[in-house]
């Protein structure tokens, strides 16, 4: 575990939810502070640094997305997880584009929330350490320097763009990646709306790395938002979609 308790700023306009989250997260060893709205949250981030911010999307005043943008500007290293009440995919895309690392939809299980928080924390805090050239996930092993992919020890042939796409996903495993971000990162900054490209590449990748491409275990679809790479060997891996997404 971490030597110093992880600090979390819980931002929600609902008192009882803040209280429940504070007590529960405290019990799990997090150091929790509270803010009642976007303004307070931005103020708190100005005063001290947090490892994580848990930010409600629908708050009066400065909305969650705007607060997220400001916090990201003030604290680039802080992990931000948005809490949404709706499944409105636009909200999610907006939040991710505003700099959020992930989102959870109310109501969420505490376990699921903590898994998300840990995944985000690992990504934001382990940033300097991710310069490793070999990444593994389940029975996949990708060698970034030598442009090689092995599945259960067997080499898998990937086209250059397929490799880049998978490499980018594996480097950002566990967090949602919007279509636009994937396109920009793999194809270049002038891309962003060529969804058909992305979808056909994902389709081909799934055929090569998944057991059943109709029921993917690695490259999960985030409905209307994008994709999320799931590492099955990660204890905090998101559950596979079972029912009603």
């Amino acid at each position: 575990m971490l030597s110093q308790p992880t600090s979390v700023l819980v931002v929600d306009d609902e008192f009882s939810l803040r209280k429940a989250l504070r007590k529960s997260l405290n019990a799990s060893g997090f150091d929790v502070e509270e803010a009642r709205n976007g303004e307070e949250a931005v103020g708190a981030v100005r005063q001290r640094s947090f490892d994580l911010v848990l930010l409600d999307m629908n708050m009066p005043g400065v909305g969650g997305v705007e607060a997220c943008r400001k916090i990201r500007g003030l604290a680039p290293q802080t992990g931000i997880v948005m809490v949404t009440v709706r499944d409105a995919e636009n909200d999610k895309v907006d939040a991710l584009e505003a700099g959020a690392d992930d989102y959870v939809t109310k109501p969420f299980r505490l376990r699921e929330l903590m898994a998300r928080l840990r995944a985000v924390l690992r990504r934001t805090h382990g940033h300097e350490a991710t310069q490793v050239s070999v990444l593994t996930a389940g029975d996949l092993e990708i060698d970034l320097e030598r442009h090689l992919l092995k599945r259960a020890g067997q080499p898998v042939h990937l086209a250059p763009k397929e490799f880049e796409l998978l490499a980018f996903m594996m480097q950002n495993q566990g967090v949602p990646l919007t279509h636009a971000r994937l396109l920009r990162s793999v194809w270049g900054p002038e891309y962003g709306s060529e969804l058909e490209y992305l979808r056909s590449y994902v389709k081909m990748l799934r055929k090569k790395i998944e057991n059943d491409s109709a029921k993917p275990e690695y490259i999960l679809t985030e409905p209307w938002v994008g994709y999320r790479f799931r590492n099955p060997s990660d204890p905090d891996a998101p559950p596979l979609p079972a029912d009603e997404e």
């Binding site: 939810l17 429940a20 709706r86 505490l110 409905p223 029912d243």
Partner: protein
């Protein structure tokens, strides 16, 4: 008689004028040419004032006078030269033609006046009627406006839509019954003997009622205009009424889905609190196995409630907003398998069968929306059939489209519900009590199908107790070209 009398008087006056002209110009020994012009002038004046008969009589009198007083040999009816006969003949012809032309111009001017007056009257009438607020138009009020126009003494209106009869004034010749009969038979009545004129009211080819007049002047001309005006008024009132009802209904629906939306929102935060608190109990440790079990139960039920609320929320949103599918090429069978898997988990006691022509069957669709819609249709089949029923899903390629037929045994839809099940918030009388639901599912599913260029319908059944089948269609997908484009990239 009086007409003849008038003609005789005018003929006498004209005759006197001819006599005076003859006397004066005979004294002056004027020659034929001058006198004939003066006679023509007299005849023109005569035609302007009188009728054809008198003008003709005057013309003949003038010819006789010309011959007797001004043509050689004078004071006899004999004519010396054949040229003179021609002159007399051409005078008479000219006189008669002038008479005819002048008279025609006069009657045309008169009928134009009449027409204008009639138009004025109709215009005033329609203005009066249009000025009345449509909601305030009682049928009898506007009949009152008609009464007296164009001399009518009784007016009767049969409103076909409401099947009601309205009358203004008092009829002495059975106008109400005849108006109703005219509506029923769809035939206009023109009965000059009893002074009755009845016209059917037509709106875009449809007969909406009939209007009857007693003692209407000039019924051939005015009857049609008044009937058109009435039909327009009735239609206007009907459309406004419909619009008002539709607005009220739409508002009610907006409120209803806004309430659903708010409810789902308000619902989810407390659920999150309970869930977080329950999770906190576990994190705090020191719970025994039974207690952990109970906490797990709380959490899973909270998750279930949350999923329900999400669904309601999504439905409410799709119901309210325009559905904008984000198309991609999807394998229909994959989606259907997924849908069946989900429903099988929820309804383990139904037997599912899925038959699709080929796994590779691809359609252009928004996979999320399509999944949502198909889930809804299949779930509907499960929800409204009893345990042990078979739910069959068949995919068929048709010309230009793909049809997904979802049928279930062991349930029926009452005929009254059949037409309405696709309406938003509509729930069959039986299902209202037996099966939970928002009444949005099929409405939203159909909306999604329509947004994809397809449709969702209930198939007609041969017998009331045969299987219920829903047919979901999508346009056939084009073959994927993107794959090639990308691999060469």
């Amino acid at each position: 008689m009086s007409r003849l009398g008038h003609a005789a008087t005018r003929a006498l006056l004209g005759g006197s004028a001819v006599a005076i002209v003859t006397a004066i110009f005979n004294q002056l020994h004027a020659d034929f040419a001058i006198v004939s012009f003066i006679y023509l002038l007299t005849i023109v004046l005569q035609s302007l004032a009188g009728d054809f008969l008198s003008a003709m009589l005057v013309s003949f009198a003038a010819v006789v006078c010309l011959d007797f007083f001004f043509l050689d040999p004078l004071y006899t009816f004999a004519v010396a030269r054949s040229v003179d006969v021609a002159a007399l003949f051409s005078f008479l012809t000219t006189a008669l033609i002038i008479t005819q032309l002048v008279l025609r111009a006069r009657t045309e001017a008169q009928s134009a006046d009449l027409e204008r007056e009639r138009l004025d009257q109709l215009y005033r009438l329609s203005q009066q009627l249009l000025a009345v607020k449509p909601e305030a138009i009682g049928t009898s009020t506007f009949l009152e406006h008609y009464l007296g126009t164009f001399g009518s003494t009784a007016i009767c209106l049969f409103d076909g839509e409401a099947a009601t009869l309205h009358i203004a004034g008092s009829s002495t010749r059975g106008l109400p019954d005849r108006t109703r009969d005219a509506y029923l038979s769809g035939r206009n009545v023109e009965d000059p003997d009893s002074g009755i004129c009845i016209r059917c009211l037509q709106v875009s080819g449809r007969i909406t009622g009939a209007i009857g007049f007693e003692n209407l002047q000039n019924p051939q001309v005015t009857g049609g205009s008044l009937a058109t005006l009435t039909a327009t008024l009735l239609e206007r009132r009907r459309v406004l009424r419909e619009a008002a009802t539709a607005t009220a209904a739409a508002q009610a629906e907006v409120y209803r889905s806004a309430i659903l939306d708010a409810l789902a929102h308000e619902f989810k935060t407390p659920l999150a609190t309970v869930s977080a608190a329950a999770g906190g109990l576990v994190e705090a440790g020191s719970l025994n196995i039974e207690q952990l079990d109970l906490v797990e139960m709380i959490e899973s039920e909270m998750a279930r409630l949350g999923a329900l609320a999400s669904r309601l929320l999504r439905m409410a949103r799709l119901e309210r907003e325009e559905v904008k599918p984000r198309m991609e090429i999807v394998e229909l069978a994959t989606i259907l398998e997924h849908v069946v898997d989900q429903q099988r988990q929820r309804y383990p006691d139904r037997s599912f069968s899925l038959s699709a022509p080929a796994r590779e069957l691809e359609v252009s669709a928004d996979p999320e929306l399509l999944r949502l819609a198909l889930n809804q249709v299949v779930e509907n089949a499960c929800k409204y059939s009893c345990a042990g029923s078979a739910v069959k899903i068949q995919v068929e390629e048709e010309s230009g489209s793909v049809a997904i037929r979802v049928s279930n045994t062991g349930s029926s839809i009452p005929a009254v519900d059949e037409r309405r099940i696709f309406e938003r918030f509509y729930r069959g009388a039986v299902s209202n009590h037996l099966v939970p639901g928002s009444g949005l599912g099929l409405f939203v599913a159909r909306k999604i199908a329509a947004a994809h260029g397809g449709g969702l319908d209930l198939e007609a059944r041969e017998q009331p107790d045969s299987d219920v089948t829903f047919r979901f269609t999508l346009p056939a997908g084009r073959k994927v070209e993107v794959d090639h484009a990308v691999t060469t990239n």
